[in-house]
Symmetry: none
Amino acid sequence: MKVHQLAREFGEYEPSLSLGCKRLCPLAPKLHHHQASSSDTVSSFDLKCFIKPESDPRKLGSSDQKRDSPKVETQPGGTRWNPTQEQIGILEMLYRGGMRTPNAQKIEQITAHLGKYGKIEGKNVFYWFQNHKARERQKLKRSSLGFTHSARNSAPITTITLDTRVEIMERSDEDSPYKRRCKSWSFEYLEDESGSPCKEEENRTLELFPLHPEGR
Amino acid sequence: MKVHQLAREFGEYEPSLSLGCKRLCPLAPKLHHHQASSSDTVSSFDLKCFIKPESDPRKLGSSDQKRDSPKVETQPGGTRWNPTQEQIGILEMLYRGGMRTPNAQKIEQITAHLGKYGKIEGKNVFYWFQNHKARERQKLKRSSLGFTHSARNSAPITTITLDTRVEIMERSDEDSPYKRRCKSWSFEYLEDESGSPCKEEENRTLELFPLHPEGR
DNA sequence: GCAAATTAATGATTTATTCAAG
DNA sequence: CTTGAATAAATCATTAATTTGC
């Protein structure tokens, strides 16, 4: 086992232990057709897709040797996304329309649309929903403190109808500290690294969000 | 603002889903390897890269046509990553070597290497570190309950020297409830949706991990 | 000896917190 | 102070172990 090599490639973290785990399963390496993938080159991407290390060129003289990367960078003038009114407006509409945790496809679409109004990336959309949801909840909670009684039973069920089709209840989300929602996501890794990536998807079966918090 | 159109395009949240949580009866046969390997390719990419909605190929009557695969398919099971001994071994080494939250570049590298020992994706590596770190901490905490006194001040600074080059302190991570570490991640959204997928990245300047938490 | 039933591990997501740019 | 970004804690949900009845 080329641990050294491995570690060396990873730069730091030089392990060298004998990874002597308890050899429980006599499993022979199941590498089927698998190892053939472009192992060395960083052609794979997954996880949070395109996550990329923060440059943060400022402080910290990075000991990394890859400093040369010219500019490209995240051209948005500054470092963080600065949403425009249109973008916020659309996002809020979507939120009020019931959207909470859009999946990659949706994020892509949204990003594409919002891109017309200003620079934006998928992560911004993702974070926006995350934060907006969390902060709406906070707000709700805070305001409920000075409102000790009911407001529970017949909480405000804001029914919004968009396009004569969508109806969502605003409440029931902020109420329960922990929402029980079925999982609706799952990552998918594009195995093919040659050329045909991003083919086509077939989403389906997501839930919008728990209509009945189910007690608790 | 064209909410309708927008919503329509996004396939908006129809109030129908509810597809109750999977975890129904314990009787559900385990038919492994259902692996929606068919066409679940994703087209979008960003955020959590390759996230894709769960298709839940299981039940749904016998409408499933993929049942034919008599065996193996994607060897390790089906839906979730099932690490091999080698993979775990290497990951543990890296962990013990001090790695905690590898950045995208590192994850890519690690994934590529571990891919030689079995199917694996970047997200698996990412999650592994997340979970491992969290659970090590848990363990630490639990064990410390029956160990009320010190063990704080001069906590065990396990210095590991690997390959005569790396020296890491095991502690300092489990100690502080919240570690203040520089951000090291950032999503990058692949705007291109036509063909050129995962082109190439230009990572740089990452930190491996906070040697000095910088006193918060 | 199996295979269903149960339990233990742990992979995968979601939610809560925290940090810091503007 | 607002809020984008990031991390950690809490949870959910599978998969493998292990147990149990035949």
